[in-house]
């Protein structure tokens, strides 16, 4: 395959920037453009629910790279302009401001969009958290509030609950699962997380689905559970997951099904690739379509896409990894944990708040989880056998 003369990356965040950087690192010298809907220079999302929301970092610290490093990339950043359509045949991207950008290779890295609760737009005081602007608006509202209800007991909901509690608010976490992250990490670790949150004073109203919002005079006053009970709130954060930002690809002819569907090379069509949260690719050893929502995947997948654009023709087979910080707990997870796996503590002690646990299914280790033991967890990463033979994509 010929090296393309021009590459256009759509989405100027973790995966988009990493694609541009990897292309240059791998020796690409052609024209490089990065189109981003947000006006900000590329910034990082994990600090948004942690240091930025807490006020420990000013927003500038969340930038992914200093200006000088971005300038050294020799890429043209077109910011504050959203892609509105793609002609896959000619690889032309149309934008909100009326640009038509053609390139030999197009990389889709548009990430996710937060899923709102029906009716939330009509009420002030209700937030989702995906962007820097979201984080600053939520922080401003939390500073003036005393009671916050977080709808959602996944990673993001649990982090926001912990941060808001750390800011001194009265915090309630609501959601259908019995404990935070129960569907993801299983009952043992989720139980430990529930204990952590309760100990720090977060009220857990879990195991009951949320029915909707209650409001008065255009402002939210609470969250209505399906039982009819209303949890009073000045501020509500909706953290019920996010959907791939593929709306702009409708009509492109590309397959959109829970993400932009790609082959094992992360290619959606000739000369069109996807990386990061938006990409649902064929994992050839796992034998199916997979989409990951984590920070390291954005970088690793971007690195592989860059290599494939330059002709490597490699499959993407990562060992997934994510971390989360909640109160004093730093949790690191390698592999693919699941609620039905058998969980064994192999180092440390949950009571002492430092341990490493192995997840096993059908006699094979599928995940390693470290709770305040990052190094020890990493050292056991090699034991993961379920997606055997997987090396990190570079």
């Amino acid at each position: 395959m010929n090296v393309p003369a021009s590459v256009l990356v759509v989405g100027a965040s973790a995966a988009g920037l990493a694609t541009a950087e990897a292309l240059r690192r791998q020796g690409y010298q052609g024209a490089l453009r990065v189109l981003g809907a947000e006006p900000h220079l590329p910034y990082d999302r994990p600090p948004l629910s942690k240091q930025v929301l807490a006020g420990a970092w000013d927003p500038g610290r969340a930038l992914l790279r200093p200006q000088a490093a971005l300038a050294a990339l020799d890429a043209e950043f077109l910011l504050g302009d959203a892609a509105t359509g793609l002609d896959a045949g000619t690889r032309t991207v149309h934008t909100a401001s009326g640009r038509a950008l053609r390139a030999d290779a197009v990389v889709v890295a548009t990430g996710l969009r937060a899923r709102p609760l029906p009716g939330q737009d009509a009420l002030s005081g209700v937030h989702t958290l995906r962007t820097l602007d979201d984080a600053l608006a939520l922080r401003a509202d939390l500073l003036a509030a005393s009671r916050c209800v977080v709808v959602g007991e996944g990673v993001l909901g649990a982090e926001i609950a912990a941060t808001a509690r750390g800011m001194g608010l009265d915090v309630t976490m609501a959601g259908p699962q019995p404990a935070p992250l129960a569907g993801h990490l299983g009952p043992v670790v989720a139980g430990q997380l529930a204990g952590l949150h309760a100990e720090h004073g977060v009220r857990l109203r879990l195991g009951t689905a949320v029915g909707g919002l209650a409001g008065h005079g255009g402002r939210v006053t609470g969250v209505r559970l399906e039982t009819g009970e209303v949890l009073p709130a000045d501020v509500v954060v909706v953290a019920m997951g996010a959907a791939p930002a593929t709306g702009w690809l409708t009509g492109s002819g590309l397959r959109l099904d829970g993400g932009l569907v790609c082959d094992s090379r992360c290619r959606a069509a000739e000369g069109v690739y996807a990386a990061g949260d938006v990409a649902r690719w064929h994992h050839d050893t796992a034998g199916g379509l997979i989409r990951l929502e984590n920070r390291t995947n954005a970088i690793e997948q971007a690195g592989l896409v860059a290599a494939n654009i330059l002709g490597a023709d490699q499959p993407y087979r990562p060992i997934p990894y994510f971390w989360t910080d909640q109160f004093d707990a730093r949790i690191h997870v390698y592999g693919t944990p699941s609620a039905d796996a058998e969980v064994t503590v192999v180092e440390g002690d949950p009571a002492g708040r430092r341990f490493v646990a192995l997840y096993r299914r059908d006699g094979r280790t599928t995940a390693v989880l470290g709770w305040n033991m990052p190094k020890q967890a990493r050292l056991r990463r090699a034991e993961i056998g379920d997606i055997a033979g997987l090396a990190p994509a570079r």
């Binding site: 990493a18 990082d44 390291t296 190094k375």
Partner: protein, 66 residues
Amino acid sequence: MKIIVDEDRCCGAGQCVLLAPEVFDQREDDGIVILLTAEPGEHLRASVREAAAVCPASAIELDESG
């Protein structure tokens, strides 16, 4: 090449150690990055650049001016 790590940004992911174990390690107690050498030899530089690029916390900065 000179490496600067920001311990306050580091989330203890250990991706750097996986890529360049001669240059990076992690503290036993909290997993925060330890820089084994700030000025790595020529043969390590490619893997250090890779490590700086994949660090999910942007905690590794490289000064390539020297």
